[in-house]
């Protein structure tokens, strides 16, 4: 059974968002990492880049397959999890903690409010 922490927001594309003030930490969910298998590479934007909600912001690679990552919210990247360069497996091991990908200074907090809550995301997993 996949973990779906109650304090996070989610997209239908299996990204999570943790909101701290005006900062959004972004990663992929436990369900997603489990479906992807062993992650060997994460390609992320540089600090200072601008993300646009629902646009791609990076890729992950597992089983020789590259997949698109989508931004759940818009804003400026203020921090990138550089640890994932050497240790991409952290996305598998701790998707909600050490496996976070980028921190974004949100330009529109309403975008985060509109995302799925944990109950809605769990229902989405079951449906899909």
């Amino acid at each position: 059974m996949s973990q779906v922490p109650e304090n996070l927001k989610y997209t239908k594309e299996h990204e999570w968002v943790r909101v701290e003030g005006n900062t959004a930490f972004i990663g992929i969910t436990d369900f997603a990492q489990d479906e992807l298998g062993d992650i060997v590479f994460v390609e992320l934007p540089e600090e200072g880049s601008l993300l646009i909600a629902e646009q791609t912001f990076g890729t992950v690679e597992s089983v020789k397959t590259v997949s698109d990552l989508f931004a759940p919210v818009s804003g400026k990247v203020i921090q990138v999890n550089a640890d994932l360069g050497e240790h991409p497996e952290k996305v598998n091991e701790q998707p909600y903690e050490a496996g976070w990908m980028v921190a974004v200074e949100m330009s529109d907090a309403a975008e985060a409010n509109a995302l799925l809550n944990a109950v809605e995301y769990q229902a989405h997993i079951v449906e899909s």
Binding site: E13, I28, E35, F41, S62, V63, T65, V66, D68, F70
Partner: protein, 258 residues
């Protein structure tokens, strides 16, 4: 089903589409065609295509990003090795007039299946095609081979075909509400100087500071497997022959589902 035939989209076309004079553009055509498929501007596609006309290697974006990857690629180019960058995962592969490619470019749907399903969809017809030529091939990993993975096609315990994928419009193997496409790709070494290609790949990894190494004895060409079939043919002529064969074979495979 063995070959995952239920994943074949309705209306799939089989076409030979390439631009061998511009090797990177030839690679980039994958994305352009895939985006057209994802938007519904083009039917689902089985693309048969040849490598560029010059000997070289194909790298993944991961290859370039790790260590001094960009520097190592530039050094190889300076030596005359054609280096192209692809959108699928994995590690370096041989490129050149003796390499042929097969790409499935399918739209993402609500139930797009799994990466394993697409690897099987890719390798099952290739195994049948080889079987029709009297060649027994199996899928499996082969440590030390170029771009190793669970879905290599192996002949006599040597790698003849490598496979990889890219999923656009969301994560692989999960439902996505966004439009996008799935690229499942295979490349076959038909008639390649494997010693030269292996040396280039290993030079790339050595110069970029990565420990990965390819072992020459893990690879084989179709010419080595079927020497009589390609007597007196150049690498390009061998690949052209395979491309013609695949056009017919995959045309029939797609229309009948096997």
């Amino acid at each position: 089903m063995t070959g995952g035939q239920d994943l074949w989209p309705v209306g799939t076309q089989v076409q030979w589409l390439d631009d061998v004079d511009h090797s990177q553009a030839n690679q980039d055509l994958e994305q352009e065609l895939g985006e057209q498929v994802g938007r519904g501007d083009r039917p689902p596609l089985v693309r048969i295509w040849r490598s560029g006309g010059r000997l070289g290697i194909g790298l993944s974006r991961r290859d370039l990003a790790m260590g001094a990857g960009e520097h190592a690629a530039a050094a190889l180019r300076h030596q005359g090795c054609d280096v192209v960058v692809r959108q699928t995962g994995g590690t370096a592969v041989p490129q050149g007039p003796g390499v042929i490619h097969l790409s499935y470019l399918f739209p993402r749907t609500r139930s797009s299946g799994t990466t394993d399903g697409y690897y099987r969809l890719l390798t099952a017809p290739l195994r049948t095609w080889l079987h029709n030529l009297g060649v027994s091939a199996v899928t499996g990993p082969l440590p030390g081979s170029y771009c190793d993975g669970s879905y290599n096609l192996l002949v006599r315990d040597q790698k003849l075909v490598g496979t990889a994928q890219a999923w656009r419009g969301g994560l692989a193997g999960v439902h996505s509400t966004r439009p996008g496409y799935i690229l499942a790709h295979a490349c076959m070494t038909v008639d390649v100087d494997l010693a030269w290609a292996t040396q280039q790949m290993n030079q790339f990894y050595e110069q970029s500071g990565q420990p990965y190494r390819v072992h020459l004895q893990t690879s084989v060409t179709l010419r080595q497997v079927l020497p009589n079939l390609f007597a007196d043919k150049s690498p390009r002529q061998c690949v052209d022959w395979v491309a013609e064969q695949w056009l017919q074979f995959f045309g029939a495979w797609v229309s009948t589902g096997s």
